[in-house]
């Protein structure tokens, strides 16, 4: 492995043009990941035709690098302005933005930089060591019932995040789940709640909903504070997390690497579920669940470690089996095909050089996050010094463009503003925006896999429990649910 890695590194850095492509991918991915609405997918779609004129290894490597750095890029705007660059950065905003408001932006961004790099490097190393056996294990043991059970397990802790009471937490999750049912059902294609509007048949897209719930509702909240003379600009802090603080979260990092890796390896799932599950597990294992959603460093660490850990893992089914884990890895298939190559088991025999250039590039791209991230953070944090009256219209403009640009539908802009108004009202009354977003995103994934799983087990719910992984996850999720209900009813301890 080390020999191959060194050979891949030599091929990557032995040619100035290849180095140029690598650097372009690193910076382009970060930039497009950070700007809301445009994403690493936008950049990849623009670049796709040009990869035909590159060497196959250069083309695939470019996309792999964009995937790594683009997944990290959205964390910055999520933390500083409550605008997640893409859905996989949404859980980062849950605690990252409250940290900014508390004057701990440097700590949050520093943790995001470091943990993205750690998650990405760890998954790149596992990818290099065990791509083929891991891919085979995943497809043989994880099907729709297991993915549904995983989502159920993740949702079971969602009520604990950010709401004033556990009941409001559950209501928030249920609102998210309800919103996720708008549009065609994922199996039969039957329209639901679209009121005859064709555009709604496609459902509520994640990007405008997230922009509305996070960015627009935040603008309303801050505008209200400004009007009432209570607005306080967040303090700009350059203080990175100390080694001790990070060391205290070593188990959270390790856990998120495992969770992110597990989610990333599943075909068609990818980094979004990884980030939400990583965050959810942090909440589940914490003794102070009520602190999440209010500016807890562990929230940022868990989400950013998990989403980048999913990047290397998502390459495993792609390279070993030809099964892309998401839209960007699907575009990588197109890059392979442009060069008369097919990802899959044969590629390890037919193009080992290409594979190791890609592996090496992903390793160094994650390392670059650390280096470039530290340098850029010192500059980017100064954006917080922009007065709110200038910043708010800028954020609204970016969010509006971002909502429209992904599908070119005016409906998405309307959805964003409606989500903003709803989010504003619900926040005022103690409901949880993270809970709604968790419900929306996990609901969409969960419903599809539940329906497929039910078809698979011939509509016999009991059969779900005959699948070991599935039964363990459902049992653990149920236990979490019952525990939270018990705590809600249990009499409060009297102070001594």
């Amino acid at each position: 492995m080390i020999e191959n890695f060194l050979a891949g590194s030599a091929a990557l850095f032995g040619d100035p043009f290849t180095i140029g492509i690598f650097v372009f991918g690193v910076i382009g991915g970060m930039l497009f990941g950070a700007i809301p609405g445009v994403s690493m997918l936008t950049l990849a779609a623009i670049l796709l035709p040009f990869t035909a004129s590159l060497e196959p290894a250069q083309g695939v490597m470019l996309f792999a690098v964009i995937y790594c750095t683009g997944t990290y890029g959205g964390a910055i705007t999520a933390i500083l302005f409550n605008i997640p660059g893409s859905p996989e950065n949404a859980p980062t905003a849950f605690d990252g933005y409250p940290m900014t408001q508390k004057g701990e932006s440097g700590k949050a961004v520093g943790a995001a930089v470091l943990c993205s790099a750690i998650g990405g490097i760890a998954s790149a190393l596992v990818m290099m060591a065990a791509t083929e056996p891991l891919a085979n294990w995943a497809i043989q043991n994880i099907g729709p019932p297991e993915i549904f059970a995983l989502v159920f397990f993740g949702l079971a802790v969602a009520s604990s995040v950010g709401a004033r009471t556990i009941w409001k937490g559950w209501m928030s999750v249920l609102i998210g789940l309800l919103i996720s049912t708008i549009g065609q059902d994922p199996v039969g294609g039957i329209n639901r709640y679209n009121f005859g509007l064709t555009d709604l048949a496609a459902g509520i897209a994640f990007v405008p909903a997230i922009l509305g719930f996070f960015a627009v509702s935040e603008i309303f909240v801050q505008a209200e504070r400004t009007a009432a003379g209570k607005y306080k600009a967040p303090k700009v802090s350059m203080a990175f997390p100390s080694f001790l603080e990070l060391w205290m979260h070593k188990f959270a990092v390790l856990r998120s690497i495992l969770v992110g890796f597990f989610c990333g390896i599943l075909p068609g799932i990818g980094a979004t579920l990884a980030a939400f599950m990583g965050y959810g597990e942090a909440v589940r294992w914490s003794k102070n669940k009520e602190e999440f959603g209010k500016g807890k460093l562990e929230g940022v660490i868990s989400s950013e470690t998990a989403n980048n850990a999913a990047t290397g893992a998502a390459m495993i089914p792609l390279l070993a089996l030809g099964l892309p884990g998401g839209a960007l890895t699907a575009m990588m298939v197109a890059v392979f095909q442009m060069h008369d190559l097919q990802p899959g088991p044969l590629v390890f025999y037919t193009s080992p050089d290409l594979i190791w250039v890609v592996f090496a590039a992903m390793f160094y791209a994650n390392l670059s996050i650390l280096i470039i991230g530290v340098i850029e953070t010192k500059t980017i944090l100064n954006l917080l010094k922009i007065p709110f009256q200038f910043l708010a219209p800028l954020i609204l403009m970016l969010a509006t463009i971002g909502a429209y640009i992904s599908r070119g539908l005016v409906l998405d802009v309307i959805v964003m503003f409606l989500a903003g108004i709803l989010g504003y009202l619900l926040r005022r009354t103690g409901f949880s925006i993270p809970g709604i977003v968790l419900g929306l995103i996990l609901g969409t994934i969960g419903e599809q896999n539940f329906a497929q799983g039910m078809q698979m087990v011939h509509y016999d719910l009991g059969t779900y429990f005959s699948r070991p992984i599935c039964s363990v996850l459902i049992a653990a999720g149920t236990l979490t649910l019952l525990t939270s209900v018990y705590k809600a009813f249990a009499p409060a301890k009297k102070p001594a």
């Binding site: 997918l41 779609a45 796709l48 035709p49 085979n136 995943a138 497809i139 043989q140 043991n141 994880i142 099907g143 729709p144 549009g183 065609q184 994922p186 199996v187 039969g188 294609g189 039957i190 329209n191 064709t198 555009d199 048949a201 496609a202 459902g203 075909p267 068609g268 089914p317 089996l321 030809g322 099964l323 892309p324 884990g325 839209a327 699907a330 575009m331 298939v333 197109a334 095909q337 008369d340 097919q342 990802p343 899959g344 088991p345 044969l346 025999y349 599908r407 070119g408 539908l409 599809q448 329906a451 497929q452 078809q455 698979m456 011939h458």
Partner: protein, 337 residues
């Protein structure tokens, strides 16, 4: 080593087979005068699916070919969702000036068959070219030991008492669901269809043994065929294509129905200026002949049968499909409007 050798042989066989069967391009004119300077700016191509799927890729390949040929840029506007209805609605609302073209698949025909208020691609639009036509097959894992061919598969499925599974895209009224109805009715078996809307989980489900079989088109699973992981046991087409000479057709297996084909093509508004439409027809039909497009189609197994239909041929294909879908929808008891 044996596996590698075996898969390489399959790859070589498939590659040579497809090359030998490549269909001739029929649009002879290498150039065509622009009517009153049209187009004097970039065209917009509405694609009702994402950029990474089959439609996204064919749209990119055709746009590249037309631009190579004419020098006119084409901007692709992806509007995914609602099984293609979102993109179709957006396209119908765009100006009918010839600058807006649409990529769509046979889902547009089946949607019109189910609900006649949905645009008919043969009459509410003008087909510029259909550039991909393909058939479907049933696949099993190559290392499957419970059955090895269609007769043994049917026998095994019948013994499972409805518990056997097949992965496909079985949305209400889809080509896959309709064809599966034809197959199950004709063979007297019951099989549970598991609907996966994305390719990767669908193929992973067969590879990992989560389902027993897969309904798919050969171009979409070419890498699994090349790698020797999937094996076709039934071709749903009237004759055996050369590269699948060992796989029986549904008719040979006693199933007497006209196969529904998967096709992807390009369209323009029916009321776009006629001279502009003629230029677009030339550009897209000739674009099909460009080397870049031909090699793209070859890589997708789209030269195994004739993938080319000009405007009249496309209309004939669409009309026949709509008629077939309508008949079967009525037989299935669906509410045909």
């Amino acid at each position: 080593m044996n596996r590698l050798l075996g898969t390489s042989i399959v790859s070589v066989f498939l590659a040579t087979g497809t090359a030998a069967l490549a269909f001739e391009c029929v649009r002879p004119e290498a150039s065509f005068d622009k009517p009153d300077g049209f187009p004097e700016r970039a065209l917009t191509m509405v694609v009702p699916y994402g950029p990474a799927g089959g439609s996204g890729q064919v749209a990119a390949a055709m746009a590249e070919a037309v631009t190579e040929l004419t020098g006119v840029a084409i901007n692709r506007d992806h509007k995914p969702g609602g099984s293609g209805t979102v993109g179709m609605t957006a396209y119908m609302a765009s100006p009918a000036d010839g600058y807006n073209v649409l990529e769509h698949i046979d889902d547009a025909s089946s949607a019109h068959a189910l609900d006649s208020s949905v645009p008919n691609p043969a009459s509410d639009l003008i087909p510029l070219v259909v550039s991909q036509v393909t058939f479907s097959q049933i696949y099993i894992r190559t290392n499957e030991d419970r059955f090895s061919d269609w007769p043994s598969f049917v026998e095994w499925v019948k013994a499972q008492d409805g518990k056997a599974t097949i992965a496909n895209v079985s949305k209400e009224g889809s080509m896959e669901r309709v064809t599966m109805k034809f197959i199950t009715d004709a063979s007297g078996m019951t099989i549970q269809q598991i609907s996966f809307d994305k390719g990767a989980p669908r193929y992973g489900a067969l590879l990992g043994g989560q389902v027993d079989a897969l309904f798919e088109q050969p171009g979409d699973v070419r890498n699994f065929l090349d790698a020797g992981q999937f094996k076709p046991i039934l071709t749903i087409f009237d004759e055996r294509p050369g590269v699948f000479a060992d796989t029986p057709t549904h008719r040979e297996m006693g199933m007497d129905f006209d196969p529904l084909l998967r096709f992807r093509g390009f369209y323009v508004h029916a009321d776009a200026p006629a001279d502009r439409v003629e230029w677009l027809k030339w550009a897209f039909q000739r674009g099909y002949c460009e080397d870049s497009y031909q090699s793209f189609n070859e890589s997708k197994f789209m030269t195994v049968i004739d993938s080319y239909r000009d405007t009249d041929g496309a209309r004939e294909l669409i009309d026949r499909s709509v008629e077939q879908y309508r008949d079967v929808y009525k037989a299935m008891g669906l509410d045909v409007k």
